[in-house]
């Protein structure tokens, strides 16, 4: 799997790594049962702190996208299919937002607000 980070970006590095995994799960290139590479190896190759990678993996575990298994490391969970199922909706929403001149951050905020409303309802 491909992981890319931009240390110059305002987004925290662990968030960028987690975002890469999420993106690949929604694109269907990462499927349930796929193993994430060992955190140590990722840290070494990207020249970042081991704890940065571990924090990304923990974030993904808290989201339910990744399961930590003793001896097997981080494994993509069945939740990946849910992300993949939302991909078309996300693309359609992004295209519509682009048409209307609404930026990605604003769309993300809208989705977050909508999710909170849906939770309360």
């Amino acid at each position: 799997m491909l992981l890319r980070i931009d240390p110059g970006s305002a987004q925290p590095l662990y968030d960028q790594i987690a975002g890469d995994v999420r993106r690949q799960a929604s694109a269907g290139t990462l499927r349930a049962g796929d193993r994430l590479p060992p955190a140590r190896e990722v840290a070494e190759a990207l020249d970042v702190n081991l704890h940065t990678v571990l924090k990304a993996y923990q974030l993904l575990r808290d989201e339910g996208l990744v399961e930590m298994r003793r001896g097997r490391g981080a494994v993509v969970s069945a939740h990946a299919a849910a992300l993949a199922a939302l991909r078309d909706d996300a693309l359609a929403l992004a295209a519509r937002a682009h048409e209307l001149g609404v930026g990605a951050d604003a769309v993300a905020a809208l989705v977050r607000a909508a999710a909170e409303e849906a939770d309360e309802a």
């Binding site: 799997m1 491909l2 890319r4 980070i5 931009d6 110059g8 190896e41 020249d47």
Partner: protein
């Protein structure tokens, strides 16, 4: 249907089927005149192993039919896909020769026991061997020369991968695995398990020398299995690193040494004479299965090939790493 495929089919599929059917037919025809049990193994002093007569046709079907058929059919399948090479010409010929030799040998051992009251009186098996062995050798040779000689594998010209566009300062890593096909893996695991089981039985049976030897074989098989069935592939700014499953072997292509990278299709048997870590003139290859791979051309002109899934992504990142390293040097 091209000539190579037709001939491979004749040698590797039709010949084993015909030879095994003929041998089984002869065995069934003499079945009524045989002692029970029949002799199935001969030592220096005559027959020393005996089995029920029905086991012989079963063994014939398996060893003269199924086994050569699997060899021949696997080669024919690769040839139909466009692969060519020494091994692919050899396998159907071996299948043809093997089926005739084993079919003739097994059927012959029953034919010489016709009309006997007891298998202990079975005549010497040597004449049967002296007929079956040359017959198999002749059929195998005919099958070898009957197949067209096409040593060059059909290789599509490698198209250099476009470097993955990276923003200045952006870092990227591609981590992947090269793994054998599940069938090959299952076969190797079973063979290893069989060796371990054999060694355990030998220790129990108390034959220390044999037990030590078989344990050694089992250990060797386990190490080989761990080394050659899976490899970890890492591509980052420093270049390409391939580490074998048990971490015994580590191969590197530094980014500065990369001239070009391409995503290609490889056929281990035809191009590298097999699977595993292969050295051929001009190239080193870690070929664990047929299919997608990345091919790196080094400054020396040597190529390094490793099979990976998603070879396109891997190749474009490695091309980007090579380009960045060259830019940094200038």
């Amino acid at each position: 249907m091209d000539k190579s495929f037709r001939r491979a089919l004749g040698a590797g599929v039709v010949t084993p089927v015909v030879a095994a059917l003929a041998a089984v037919a002869v065995e069934l025809a003499v079945m009524g005149d045989l002692p029970d049990p029949v002799a199935t193994h001969w030592g220096v002093d005559g027959p020393d192993g005996f089995s029920a007569p029905w086991t012989v046709p079963v063994m014939t079907a398996l060893t003269a039919g199924v086994l050569p058929l699997v060899l021949g059919a696997s080669a024919a399948r690769a040839i139909r896909k466009g692969e060519r090479g020494f091994t692919l010409r050899l396998l159907p010929a071996v299948a043809a020769g093997l089926s005739v030799f084993l079919g003739g040998l097994l059927a012959g051992t029953l034919v010489i026991q016709r009309g006997l009251d007891a298998a202990e009186g079975a005549p010497d098996v040597l004449p049967v061997l002296l007929v079956a062995l040359p017959a198999g050798a002749i059929v195998g040779t005919v099958a070898w020369f009957g197949q067209p000689r096409e040593t060059a594998a059909r290789i599509d010209a490698a198209v250099a991968a476009a470097p993955l566009p990276l923003a200045p300062g952006e870092r990227a890593v591609w981590l992947g695995r090269a793994e054998m096909t599940p069938w090959a893996l299952a076969f190797i695991v079973l063979a290893t398990l069989a060796a371990w089981t054999g060694s355990a039985l030998m220790w129990l049976a108390g034959d220390t020398a044999a037990a030590a030897i078989i344990t050694g074989v089992a250990v060797l098989l386990s190490v080989l299995a761990a080394t050659f069935t899976v490899a970890h592939v890492r591509i980052d700014a420093t270049g390409l690193t391939v580490t074998s499953g048990a971490r015994l072997v580590r191969m590197r292509v530094p980014a500065e040494d990369i001239v070009s990278v391409a995503a290609i299709e490889v056929h281990g048997l035809a191009q590298y004479g097999g699977y595993g870590i292969r050295q051929i003139p001009g190239a080193t290859a870690v070929v664990l299965r047929p299919g997608l791979a990345i091919e790196v051309t080094r400054r020396s002109g040597r190529r390094f090939v490793v099979t990976v899934d998603d070879a396109d992504t891997a190749a474009s990142l490695l091309a980007a790493a090579g380009e960045a390293a060259h830019a940094a040097q200038d």
